[in-house]
């Protein structure tokens, strides 16, 4: 098992498990409210060039996450 990669580095079109969120209480809570928390499975839909946002799918809905946040969401490939 690897330690995972930040979400911005993950490949699009694949499923991942969130292993860690590096951030303060505010950020963790904000992500949590939209369903992104440790252990959840998310699918990366796209990412924009030049440090643009990442779009992920979670539980049937899609969320846009700014680069600065997405880099602090650590995921590992879900088999």
């Amino acid at each position: 098992m690897s330690d995972g990669n930040p979400l911005v580095k993950a490949e699009t079109g694949k499923g991942y498990r969130v292993v860690k969120i590096i951030g303060g209480y505010g950020m963790i809570r904000k992500l949590n409210l939209l369903g992104i928390r440790e252990g959840r499975i998310i699918k990366k839909i796209s990412s924009q060039p030049l440090r643009g946002p990442v779009v992920v799918e979670i539980g049937g809905s899609q969320i846009a996450i700014g680069y600065g946040m997405a880099i602090r969401i650590i995921v590992e490939a879900e088999s």
Binding site: R29, I45, S61, Q62, I63, I65, G66, G68
Partner: protein
Amino acid sequence: MKILLMGNPNVGKSVIFSRLTGVNVIASNYHGTTVEFARGTMRFNQTKAEIIDVPGTYSLLPTTKAEEVASEMLKEGDIVIDVIDATNLERSLNFTLDLIESGATIIVALNIWDEACHKGIKIDANKLEKMLGVPVVSTCALTGEGIKELVDRLPEAKSRKAKFDDKWVEIGNIVENVQQVIRRHHTPLERLGDASVTPATGIPIALIILFLSFWLVRFIGESLIGYVLEPLFDTFWTPLMMRISDLLEGGGFLHDLFIGQLIDGEIIYMESMGLLTTGLFVPIAAVLPYIFAFYFVLSLLEDFGYLPRLAVLTDTVMHRVGLHGMGIVPMMLGLGCNVPGALSTRILETRRERFIAMTLLAISVPCMAQIAMVVGLVGKYGIRGLGTVFFTMFLVWLVLGLLLNRIIKGESPEIFVDIAPYRLPHFKAIGKKVWMRVKWFLKEALPFVLLGVIIVNILYNFGIIQWIGRYTAPVVTRLFGLPEEAVGALIVGFLRKDVAVGMLVPLNLSLKQLITASVILAMYFPCVATFAAMLRELGIWDMLKSVGLMLLATAVVGGLLNLIL
């Protein structure tokens, strides 16, 4: 009796509100359409009940401004209709549990029921009701299904004071018990949704959509003017006006006020400047067709759900100007009218972002009323005229944004937003929305246009324009290269930009002067309605700063245009 409509953003609270009260409010397919509380009434238990549409939030813990407002509101309400999204049960239930913990009297509306069925999501509403301990009604607000049952069961709304040790465990437990998801293939709309946010396909899609939108607005606007409104005015209104002109003996103060100046013995609607001629023609025949066309196209994009995807694509650029992707929403709305644009900056989280967004909006986003008149004024020069005006405005927007982002302290937060699925627009809903916006324009703009025309007459009749013109000549003539009388347009521009652009028509300006004047008129100051909205949102100090920036930017850009062109 107060009934609150609460829940996550974009779950259809506003649509339910319209259904319950008959009061129409703007609803769209993206997060944060309701930025102000809408209030309405309905009959309930033989009494009048007040219904309040509360802007959506994900939780009641007051950590953001919106959440704070929502939890404040909660204290006032007698019953809460908790609107939850059947396609997104987990997220919705977190808010429901917050409400239960707060001890509020609740009834749950399980909305977007039909779409959940299409998506292969099955929810056992009876079981959900048992597990939550409060009544649950499935609704489809767009078609009105379930609304009657919701009203009938309002008296059953219950307060169940409970404390949850671990809310997410509780939610997981509920979802597992009541929801069944049948896996199925992606629909074409979902595939288009994914393609819209993937750079390789998303950027071409964005260009096509924006190009088609502009083309459609211009096509509808010009067709309505050329084939419907101008002929109507020429055939029916002109003879009547000529009759009145004869009755008033072709001159004098009353004639000037109502009919205006005859040019070679004829009424020229764009130039005569009478209340019944220019005063009616400008708002109804020149501007209204574009307002209608713009809001029709914008409403299509909104209800389809395109705006959040455009926000994703433009996020990188918006960061450079101190905003994030959702900052595109006030800019798009501002192209219609700066007032709703300024109000919609509330979807941005920080004061810094809102200041930047409103200042950019007021300076470099011309509203449709003004655009329509500018198209009429310089459209005949084609790309050399219109292209220069709009490219200049875009450059101003970009450069000013880059500078503001440098100058103003603080950082802008990251985009973090739910992207609603594409939904096929309901034509009835679109029609209603366009009609509301057109009605709003007529109610808000028409009186100001007429007032503007009266002021034009007073200014000319008493020689005030010539008098002010002498004092402002150093700026207007030397810096901007415009004739002294152009100051009249700048004075009336405080009131209405469309009338102001109209005042340039009789001045026989060269293309260079037309371009400079159009750009200056857009930039130097917002119209009174926008000014009032900005003042309310920003407060006096920030408003003064913003005004300072407007004047400075206008002097620089106007001077440069005069030098370069």
